[in-house]
Symmetry: C2
Subunit: 398 residues, 2 copies
Amino acid sequence: MTTDFAATRAQFDLPEGVIYLDGNSLGPLPKMAAARVARTVTEEWGQMLITGWNKAGWMTQPSRIGDRIARLIGAEAGHVATGDTLSIKVYQALASALEMNPGRKVVLSDTGNFPSDLYMAEGLCRTLGPDYQLKTVAPEDVLDALDETVAVMMITEVDYRTGRRHDMAALTARAHAVGALAIWDLAHSAGAFRVDVANGGADFAVGCSYKYLNSGPGGPAFIYVAPRHAEVARPALSGWLGHAAPFAFDLSYRPGTGVERMRVGTPPILQLAALEASLDIWDQVDLDDLRRVSLALTDQFIAGVEAACPDLVLATPRTHHDRGSQVSFRHPEGYAMMQALIARGVIGDFRAPDILRFGFTPLFINAEDVARAIAIIADVMQNRLWDRPEYKTRALVT
Amino acid sequence: MTTDFAATRAQFDLPEGVIYLDGNSLGPLPKMAAARVARTVTEEWGQMLITGWNKAGWMTQPSRIGDRIARLIGAEAGHVATGDTLSIKVYQALASALEMNPGRKVVLSDTGNFPSDLYMAEGLCRTLGPDYQLKTVAPEDVLDALDETVAVMMITEVDYRTGRRHDMAALTARAHAVGALAIWDLAHSAGAFRVDVANGGADFAVGCSYKYLNSGPGGPAFIYVAPRHAEVARPALSGWLGHAAPFAFDLSYRPGTGVERMRVGTPPILQLAALEASLDIWDQVDLDDLRRVSLALTDQFIAGVEAACPDLVLATPRTHHDRGSQVSFRHPEGYAMMQALIARGVIGDFRAPDILRFGFTPLFINAEDVARAIAIIADVMQNRLWDRPEYKTRALVT
């Protein structure tokens, strides 16, 4: 197929006058999501009440949605479960992986990983006992740090700060060669470009849906377990909906079939409804088209901003192969600059200590948007429009 | 205050011709929830996009909602966090409690506890190592089973099958006397009657919002940590939103203040919007009025059904002190009977192997509803209307 990105753009509700370069943090509202959520609330919850679990298919919705995410990440159908938050899914993947590699106690990650992944690993290691440790190295040192002590390599493919992209297949091949398992965090990958967990050899993969997948604030996460492990991985968070027969109400846990065992508690039906509407747009997208346009937009943005704003230091790799679908610049006054941009309708975000971050999402951003964004950034920088006290007061969420 | 239950009833969207006796499983739709969720979707997510985290107060919503739940469970303000599912909150409470009582390895629960609580405990014990064990006894034997080996007593106050209610204060006093900590699961308590975690001595409490609190399918759970433990309890699921400074993006975890550390990942904003609307109704309710009416309704139901249906065996305690806000009857053909009742507009549910379960929720159920329900049940039973093949085919969710 050839993707019609004008058509996908028309399916989003974008505020007038806003150039939204933060779909990598929270995707915008698909127009149909409003109707879908409303229908779920009034016609399903309101009218079906408890019978919605069967009649509206709520109970099986997480796996139906998992199958639709599977296409975006190159997973085999039937091997993706949705629910919970990404941090919880990280914990599940890591706990299962460590249990599958019992002779080793080291989790290897990198300092560019999203902190919550590291925190969850810390917490799990503490629970497992003093032998277990989380070891972090610089992103570019992961390959060399993979040795026979490593039980599990846990890596987020795209660095949330810089947009630097790991070569996951290469890291995973090396991890396997030294006897380690590989967990891929796809927070900034799913919906950013074609992911191939199956061919790349991922043992587990996790990700969230509220960024590029546009499911709305607090949308559910997902987890993939490679088919070769699906009946082996034992869930640490063994909730009733991961049980082989949840409604038998047995007193002892028996894991469900395959990835279904990674379900925990009652799925968030309203959030899933929004995600379902968003996936209807994703069904219209070819991932090679997506990547082609994404790279064109990030190239255009890098060139334009660098030409106009010499004070901004590019933090994102210039090489296509090493780049996700975001562009970051560093500046000590990055926080104030981002507030000034947001006030002028260019919405990106700031990541401590000095990163201005912009996400590029072909589903609703085009070259004309990027050109306008560059012009506004140039104006703000060249005229120091960011240098006002009200832009320097930090909000709770940055 | 005196609660006007006709006024609360008018605030729910109840389908015509339905007598909904399953609010203990999934509460019905508060009329305002539809508008609140729609506003959150279109005006907040749609128009504010990422800035909704600050502008719409999404980031602080879990603690604001926690404070409103606090009143219903007798918790001190500032000591209830919302998010995740109940199973996850059980895991958090249990992991922290076990870590606080390091010399002991036994989790004591009962066979009337909801299976997911037991499964989560099983999973946690396996992660902690072979010394840890979950011990379950019959519900009436918990008091006697509390001895110096028990690290944590983990009890669901009201038995999901029978509606039998534990004397939580007495159990907790005994637990403390033998040096154990007490976790209260309030799944069938919060919104069913007045709960008093603070005066009852609970060390931790957890619960869900989609039952009596009417937050909709998959609504978030909550966790209470007693103030005396709030700065001591260490989270096992140490997610970024439980960090002292989530947006500093430190590489190491530092727990947030008090119960805030029990937050994990991004909160489910659409589900929280529905819960917020439901709590507006709860703000109009006096919990003593609630209990008075609840007991009157369950008394009425027990008397009416027993008089009309001698084949149904009461599974719920007759003593008010020992009863939650549900009534259960046993019958080997309970599944078919419940399907026949649902087909006639009396919605309760079935719990394996033989329980017909009916919840009584004064916010939207009154004595007239109960009288009509009794008449329909009598008709179904006396005329064996349930004895049809289509009522005997089990659905996925029962």
